[in-house]
Each structure stands twice: as structure tokens, then as C-alpha cells.
Amino acid sequence: MNVQKLKKEWFGNVRGDVMAGMVVALALIPEAIAFSIIAGVDPQVGLYASFCIAVVIAFVGGRPGMISAATGAMALLMVTLVANHGLEYLLAATVLTGILQVIFGFSGLSRLMKFIPRSVMVGFVNSLAILIFIAQIEHFEGESWVMYALVALTLLIIYTFPLISKAIPSTMIAIIVVSAFAIFMGFNVRDVGDMGALPSTLPIFLIPDIPLNFETLAIIFPYALSLTVVGLLESLLTSNIVDDMTDTESNKNKESKGQGYANVVTGFFGGMAGCAMIGQSVINVKSGGSGRLSSLVAGVFLMFLIIILGGLVVQIPMAALAGVMIMVSISTFDWGSIRAMPKIPKSDTIVMVLTVIVVVYTHNLAIGVFAGVLLSMVFFAAKISRVKLTEEEGSDKTTKVYRVQAQLFFASVSEFTKSFDYDKDAEAGIKHIDIDLSESHVWDDSAVEALDKVKSKYKQKDITTGFIGVNKESSRLIEKLDGMISGH
């Protein structure tokens, strides 16, 4: 990395980055608090996380202009860990997540992400949206009409304020107005203060207070692995979106490592694991942010606001936060995927819906992604194992050509051998058959065996066979395996 590039990434767009960073900080505060509540920890854990991650990523991230902080996807994965083992284990899992992500980054494992089909990614964001929405429902339990009215008011302001001005995030306006209204009217509704402590100081370095033994590792490792995969998935997806929005390229392995460093630091400073955020990154770019400075400003300004205004933040009614989260859920959901349903292949829709169902049932995005990938592999194998055979007459009546259009491998061989009509060919007086493989590919030993089988079946009927148009790679495989088979 040369100095000039570094300088441009940091100071190429100072005004835009500072403005956008401040806008993002305002939009981050309610989300960081709400995601902490989803995870079951004090709001300060999410706020510390958002501060640490945004600041660290500004220096070590691979995608300038992208915003990373505490996120809903990650928070949802932590719920049972926090409930069963407590905050200290979450912090340890956060550090381990970071270490795993750094390993992923160095080993280039993050490239594996490209094997995740689009329909699984769509299922991922859709189920994330649904889970965030479901998580809000509990805030309504046992509440009076005041709660519903305040949530409705929040949503109304969020969706109509942009008509007046787009300079300030409408979520912030909604929160200020609804909080002021609730305090002024003296409504006795639950507020952020009831959900736990808010930070009054900068985070300090602490080693998670856990026994360092195998049992601890056994507890946190599965969580850390899920967090690693989901964190990288959302981060790489977001970086692709920012790449497209800014028409620039970014370094995905550097981003993986950066996410890892950020999570290690966060874990030691009392924050929960996080990753890149699609919504915030879009806000950042739209507000004019494109450099590393915007992420730094977002993190620092967020912490500044919380320390200065902490006394006011605790008075934000939960209704306002729930309203903001419902908006986050609506904008996270990929509505285009519903509209596109009639147009895209059915198998894609099934994979997407299955991913959503598994996630909503298990409350674990990682398991849903895994199930979606498995199912799409099955569909892919089914699609690619289709065999198409066309018959053509040969040079005279006793010869015949079969043109094969197929990928020959373990899944397609049984259909392939069955596609030939051995009896009919014998009755028709055929003496020689050419099998044209120019539009086919022989992939494995079961394919070679199948070719042998076809040959021997015709031999039983006194028909000779020949293969034509075999491509180089396929013939190399056939020769190699034939040598082995006849060598027995």
C-alpha cells in the first residue's frame, strides 16, 4: 500500500466523509441499543461494540465507505449464549470470532463465500428481516394502547419526514419527537433505562472473566463459528453493494481480516461481535461518504453523543426503538424477491423459502444458510445430471449415431445407460453405433464405467460401439481409468 493511496482513502473526501459519518452516527445509536436488547445485554455492550468496530475498521477494513458496527444478524446468534452463560462468555466468543475471521482472511477461505447461491443470500436477508420484526413483538406484550400509538407515530415520522428534509436521518427525528412527546405527556412507558446500563465513559480494556479451559472453548466455539460465517457473509455482501454504489473495487480478504481485528478489539473492550451493515453503508454513501474517515467519524461521534447525552438517551421510550426496528426490518427485506418470484426458476424460490423457514425455526442464520446451500446443491446436481440423447442415422442402414448432451458423472450415469434402446437397435439390424460425446463431458470414474457398460450391453447384441468427439480432458480420464480397470 503506497502513501498516496492511503492519503486518498483517508483525506480524499473530508467534507463528505465528516458529514456522512455524523449522519451515520445518529442512525447507529438506536440500532446499537435495539440490537443489544435483542441479544439480551445492556445497551452499553452494543454501543461500545459500534464504537470499537467502526473505529478499528476505519483503519484496517478493505472497503472504504462501508460502515460496520453491532448488527441484528450477529445479535440474533448470541441470544442463547447470553441467556445460558452470560456476558463474559459472549465477550470471549466475540474475541474468538475475530480470530477465526482473521484466519479466514489469511487463508483466503472467504473466497468460499462465492459458492453461496444468490437465492440463499436473498433468503438470508429476508429471514434476518423477519427475525428482527419478531424480536419486536415481545415489546408489545402486556402494553396498553399507548405503546401501539407511539410505535405508529414513530413509523409515521420515519416515513414522512424525508419529504421535508433528507439531511437528518428521519429515525433520529422520530426518536426525538416521540421521546419528547412521551416525557411531556407523562406517559409511564418502558424506556431504554429500564433495559440496562448506558456507558458514561469510554470503554476500557478487560480480559473476559472466564475459565480458560476446554469446556469454555466447547461452549463458545459453535457460537463463534456461526458468528464468523454470518459476519463475513453480511460483510462481503455489503462490500459488494458499496463496490457497486461507488463504482470501485475492494479487497475482500483484507476486509475479512479487518472484520476479525475489529471483533478481537471489541471483545476486549466489552463489546459484542458485529459486522458490516447494509442499511448504514447505503446511508453513508448516499450522504456523501466514501472514504475511511466516515467510519472513524461515525464511531467517535456516536461515543461522544452517548457520553454527553446519556441522561437523555435513557429516557427514549421502547416504543420509539421498536418503531425504528420495524422500519429496519421493512427495509432489510428484499421485496424485489417477492415480485420476481413468478419470473425466476422454481428451484430458486424453494431454496430461498427453505432458507427463511429454517432460520425462523432455528433462530440461527448460519444453520439456515447451510440448509439453503445443501438444497441448492441437490437442485444443481439434479439440473446438471439431465441427459439428452438424439438419434441420427449413420452412413448406411447398419450404423447409427447417438448424440449425447450431458454432464456424465455419478448422478447422471444411470439415466445415461438407460437412455439407449438396446433391443430396438438389435432388431433394426444395426451393426455399429457411434456415440458422439462432443457436447458432453466425462467427469469421473462412474462415467467411464457407464461408457463401458453401454459398450458391453451392445456387445451382447453383437453391435460394435465407438466414441467420437471426446474432448481432451474426458479422454485423458477415460484412458487413465481404462488402464486401471484393464490392469486388474
Binding site: 444468490r118 443470500m121 453493494i241 457497486d244 454504489m245 447505503v282 428484499d334 420476481a340
Partner: protein, 139 residues
Amino acid sequence: MYKKVLLAADGSENSVRAAEHAMAMVEHEQDSHMDIIFAVDGDKSKSDVLKYGDSNVINSKRKAKLAPIETKLKEKNISYDIHIKHGDPGPTIVKFANEGSYQCVIIGSRGLNQVQTMVLGSVSHKVAKRVQCPVMIVK
């Protein structure tokens, strides 16, 4: 009289209609040239990345959207360039138009009703208001 015009298009029906008018303006002129701007906003970026993933696929899909317009331009032998720009359509088109020296900007109107215009905002109105050269809004 029109030798250099800018067409704002996104492949929608309205933009194809606008393209027809734009073509009528330049097709009988010597050395005329049409630039086409396709503005992609943040939400569109998000849904395209989700849908297609790979940036090469995204680019070819976006180009494909303008294919009906391109075929007509080729038929009529009109010289043209396509520019895919990122950002809010209104400001992006205005900036591009004002940076080049065009004799006319042609844009389709989405045909929204009053409520929709209030909520979504009218791109063509914004463009008409802020572009410094003549603007043709095709209904």
C-alpha cells in the same frame, strides 16, 4: 438543429418512448451524437447485488435493460454512448447533463399520480428545474 443530446433512460417503457423522441431529433442530422445516462440508486444497487452477485453479471444485466433502445439506435445508425452512473437519479442526471454541453436533455415521465409524486418525488421535474439546457419530458 440538434447534434448533441442526452437521453436519461432506465429501460422502462417510458424511457423507450423518450428514446424514440430523442432519436427523431438527431437521426437526420449530420455528425449527431446521443449520450445515454442510466442512473442507478442505492436501493437498486442493493437489489441487483442480491439478485446477481457478480459485478460482471450486474453490468451486463443493466446493459441488457437498454437493449431495446440500443437496437433501434443501431438500426437508425445513430452514434451513441451509454453511461451507467451511480446515485440518486435526479441529482445524478442533472450533474451529468450540466457537465456536458448538450442541446437538449430528453427524459420520460413515470406518469405518477399526485400522491405518488409527493411521496416518491418526480425525477423529471427535478431534472427540468435544474438542468441548464432545454429539457423535453416525454409523457
